[in-house]
């Protein structure tokens, strides 16, 4: 990679200006990992483009030198998706933060990828609108990262994920063209395919998001239970009654303990599980649902119910839940945040399985989850000073994913595959499934330069010329590759 070191930074500076190219080793280290800090690599060079044209120029230079590139937003990803390449360019969108247009009559906003998720809502809140997907990291994470990860949030039970709120994307393709993928255009839904592709199909440089109307009424309930099972029962009954709350979140005893220690959220004494249910929509509808949810929680054995209908009270209820990830740091020196999904009806079985794994390996697991859609975030706690504990925690964490897959679920509900879970993909998908997905990759990125090594455990050889080929591929003939 001598060219990488000698020539490329200069060429990049020629395009972007010297202040937008980082080669200083100390500054490069700032970018060596995302939110998943145990995967680290110092990027070969970091660039801070300001426009789509600059991104395209960078990508074309990468093509010229055959150098891989990785896009990075705010670096809050939890699967190592933005892990840089030591032999590549890290393309950071922090200087692309303009809200290009707010178009309320058409309920949409056009933004650059570095704009934070929350900034969109803040720009339109006063006019009675908001951007619905709300990952807990919304104050910092970028909309470009959200698009790449198809991020969700506590409210995606009712409102869906990023993909349901993106109308169009401007992207720089892996070979450096600027192209618009618009869901209103006739043809294949390439915008739909791009969302959630984790930076492997190119870099998005402009995003048109759909805005939603602020609901007329919001009520948040906190229900305390003596055990997780009865809390789970209440969830099933709420769904069975035909209610789709905006959010249903659950925390178990250990997660509550951690949250109390960290933020003193003051949840009911003696609660071994709390359920947070948020209802929103037209006032008349919410009132009816509120009565039903209250009744169900009481009948299911909730021993204390709190209600919030103002912003402060609501924040108090959410405080413990929102702090849960960081809070476990108070009760454990180290932890792994897992992200798996099971069909909601399998929750009791899977939670019991997690308990067994925990006991068997002497590793504590705190459970925080989006109960409405079966998205679990087990926090696997361990002491990194204790020899072997890290390995045992890793094992428990992996076995939890097995449980999810065995029960018809998924290895990731919102944090993505990235570098962290690529090796688990074969547990969920066959070789043919993965090869077919990679055909799409080959269509966008035949040279495999856009965020290589993520999502797929083994890269697929794309071949040179797609189309009808008769006879044997030259690489196969020379023994360099297998036919696909």
């Amino acid at each position: 990679m001598t060219e990488m070191a000698d020539v490329l930074p200069g060429r990049l500076a020629g395009v972007l200006g010297a202040d937008a190219v980082i080669t200083d080793p100390v500054r490069l280290r700032t970018y060596e990992c995302d939110g998943l800090t145990y995967h680290r690599a110092t990027p070969g060079v970091v660039v801070l483009p300001e426009t789509a044209e600059q991104v395209a120029a960078v990508v074309r230079l990468c093509n010229e030198y055959g150098v891989p590139f990785v896009a990075r937003g705010a670096g809050t990803g939890l699967s190592g998706g933005a892990l840089p390449r030591t032999d590549g360019v890290l393309l950071v969108t922090s200087r692309m933060r303009r809200i290009v247009e707010i178009d309320l009559p058409n309920r949409r906003a056009v933004v650059e990828p570095g704009v934070t998720n929350l900034a969109i809502t803040e720009a339109v809140r006063d006019q009675g609108y908001y951007y619905a997907p709300d990952p807990s990291s919304q104050q910092v994470c970028s909309i470009g990262g959200n698009v790449a990860e198809n991020s969700g949030g506590a409210h995606c039970l009712k409102y869906g994920f990023t993909v349901n709120h993106v109308e169009a994307l401007e992207i720089v393709t892996p070979d450096g063209d600027i192209v618009t993928l618009d869901t209103r255009d006739p043809g294949y839904d390439l915008a739909g395919a791009f969302v959630g592709s984790e930076g492997t199909l190119g870099v998005t440089t402009k995003i048109t998001v759909r805005l939603s109307r602020t609901p007329e009424s919001v009520i948040t309930l906190l229900a305390a239970f003596r055990d997780v099972e009865t809390g789970g029962l209440a969830v099933s009954r709420i769904i069975a009654e035909g209610i789709v709350p905006a959010a249903i979140e659950m925390m178990d005893a250990l997660a509550i303990e951690a949250a109390e220690a960290a933020v003193r959220c003051g949840y009911p004494q003696g609660a071994a599980a709390v359920l947070i249910v948020e209802l929103d929509g037209p006032a008349a509808e919410v009132a009816g649902q509120f009565a039903a949810v209250t009744r169900i929680c009481e009948e299911s054995g909730s021993f204390e119910l709190r209600t919030a209908d103002g912003p402060e009270e609501r924040a108090a209820i959410w405080k413990g839940r929102k702090s849960a990830f960081a809070a476990v740091g108070r009760i454990s020196p180290a932890y792994i945040v897992q992200d798996g999904v099971v069909p909601r009806t399998a929750l009791p079985r899977v939670l019991a399985g997690i308990d067994r794994l925990s006991a068997e390996h002497g590793i504590r697991v705190a459970n925080v989850f989006h109960a409405g859609d079966g998205n679990l975030h087990p926090l696997v706690l361990f002491d990194d000073a204790e020899p072997g504990a890290g390995e045992r925690a890793e094992l428990v964490s992996a076995r939890i994913l097995d449980l999810c897959v065995e029960n018809g679920g998924s290895i990731t509900g919102e944090h993505g595959v990235g570098v962290d879970k690529a090796r688990y993909m074969p547990r969920m998908f066959s070789k043919d499934d993965l090869d077919t997905m990679q055909l799409v990759r080959c269509a966008f990125d035949p040279r495999g330069l856009s965020n290589p090594g993520k999502v797929f455990p083994t890269p697929r050889l794309c071949g040179e010329v797609p189309g009808v080929r008769k006879g044997v591929h030259p690489l196969v003939a020379s023994g360099k590759a297998e036919q696909f």
């Binding site: 349901n164 839904d189 509808e285 990731t412 993909m425 077919t436 799409v440």
Partner: protein, 408 residues
């Protein structure tokens, strides 16, 4: 025997060997005047794969077909040797009521599915505008109805898919949980792909509880500007309508704007909207899809705020072309249907509207001679990437060739 006859005989022999029901194509199987040599009736995903492998071995062009309700949609295929009829892929759907998901084979009709789900008080919140439509056909054409305003379209409700590629490869993506970001979403690519990427064998959808109540209300608007204002007010109303529809039976008539309110207290919420305009007669439960068998059916997609300008453009262009259009559809989503009589003036109308609007105009269906004289899909962005996707998934160009954008 000629070479062509010889290879046809060989293909027939291969198809016969795989043990899937195959019959010869007849006059009733024609698609845009093309008669397929064979019709295959696979009963499982494996059987689809066997048919497609055999077809691949003999370079046969394959056209998947569901209920046949929309076979006349899109431009005619370039060639069609084998019709792959999914009618017999109709095993009882696997409905996990507690999880609000259902998995169904491609040949299950949307009506049968709705009937099954209703027994548990649930629904797939996708309005199906035509009787007989199947799960596979609905996905392949991405048809959606009024409630797209609230629930989105098929792509938004699909959570897992099993497809079979032209070479017989069976691939799945997604799964049976609503929240899932593992791997690429092939479901998005296949939804609305008009059979050009492969065969949809099976699909899993997220469901919704059947709303407690359902109320339509309707208003009359003297002209497109008034209609647009009404649509905007309804769309922004905190009563949260599930649908805001428009109907303009002919350019001389007033427009009807209607809204659907669903859920608890729908009556009260609907009543609260009445002061927004002048009440009109209620439309039927679902505004009907125009019968497009003899005429032409077009789809107009515009930003909702440009509704009035778009309607006036349509009116003027139609008048110049000597046509009388009926315009209706999901006004708040900016997706409208235009029904026109089959007429010489169609292609002039299409180019005039395309030149004037900030949006897209697609000719969904038209009698074949008219269809051949225009570009039904019109312009699109990202055509190069679309071609590349097609080349990777169907390198031999054998799946419904010529039916899609840019001749894909």
């Amino acid at each position: 025997m000629s070479g062509a006859q010889e290879s046809r005989r060989e293909a027939a022999a291969s198809l016969e060997k795989i043990g899937v029901t195959i019959r010869d194509g007849g006059p009733g199987d024609e698609v845009a005047g093309l008669r397929p040599s064979w019709v295959a009736l696979p009963e499982s995903t494996d059987e689809i794969a066997a048919v497609l492998r055999a077809a691949a071995g003999h370079d046969l062009a394959v056209l998947p077909v569901g209920g046949g309700t929309k076979l006349h949609w899109g431009p005619p295929p370039e060639r069609c040797d084998l019709l792959l009829d999914t009618c017999c892929l109709a095993a009882a759907p696997d409905h996990a009521a507690g999880d609000l998901v259902v998995r169904a084979q491609a040949g299950v009709t949307m009506e049968a599915l709705a009937g099954l789900l209703a027994r548990s008080g649930q629904e797939l919140a996708l309005d199906v505008p035509m009787a007989g439509a199947t799960v596979g056909g609905t996905l392949a054409t991405a048809t959606a109805g009024p409630r797209r305003f609230r629930y989105g379209t098929a792509r938004d409700l699909l959570i897992g898919i099993t497809v079979v590629l032209a070479d017989g490869t069976v691939a799945r993506s997604g799964g049976r949980v609503v929240k899932n970001v593992a791997g690429y979403d092939l479901g998005k690519l296949f939804t609305g792909s008009y059979g050009t990427l492969g065969v949809i064998a099976e699909a899993t959808f997220r469901l919704h509880p059947l709303p407690a109540q359902r109320r339509w209300i309707a208003f009359t608007a003297p002209d497109p500007h008034a209609a647009r204002a009404l649509v905007a007010a309804l769309a922004a109303a905190q009563a949260e309508p599930s649908a805001v529809e428009l109907d303009w039976p002919d350019p001389g008539a007033p427009l009807t704007v209607s809204a659907l309110i669903e859920g608890t207290a729908a009556d009260r919420r609907a009543a609260a909207l009445l002061p927004l305009g002048e009440a009109a007669a209620l439309p039927p439960e679902y505004p009907e899809y125009e019968d497009d068998a003899d005429g032409a059916l077009l789809e107009l997609r515009v930003p909702p705020a440009s509704l009035a300008t778009a309607l006036l453009t349509v009116r003027d262009a139609a008048e110049r072309a000597g046509l009388s259009p009926r315009v209706s559809g999901a006004a708040a989503s900016g997706v409208l249907r235009i029904a026109l009589p089959a007429h010489e003036g169609l292609s002039g109308f299409v180019s005039a509207v395309r030149a004037a609007i900030d949006g897209r105009l697609i000719v969904v269906a038209a009698p074949e001679p008219l269809m051949r004289r225009l570009d039904p899909w019109g312009e699109t962005g990202a055509l190069t990437l679309m071609r590349r996707v097609k080349e990777r998934l169907d390198p031999g160009r054998r799946m419904s060739p010529g039916r899609f954008v840019g001749g894909i």
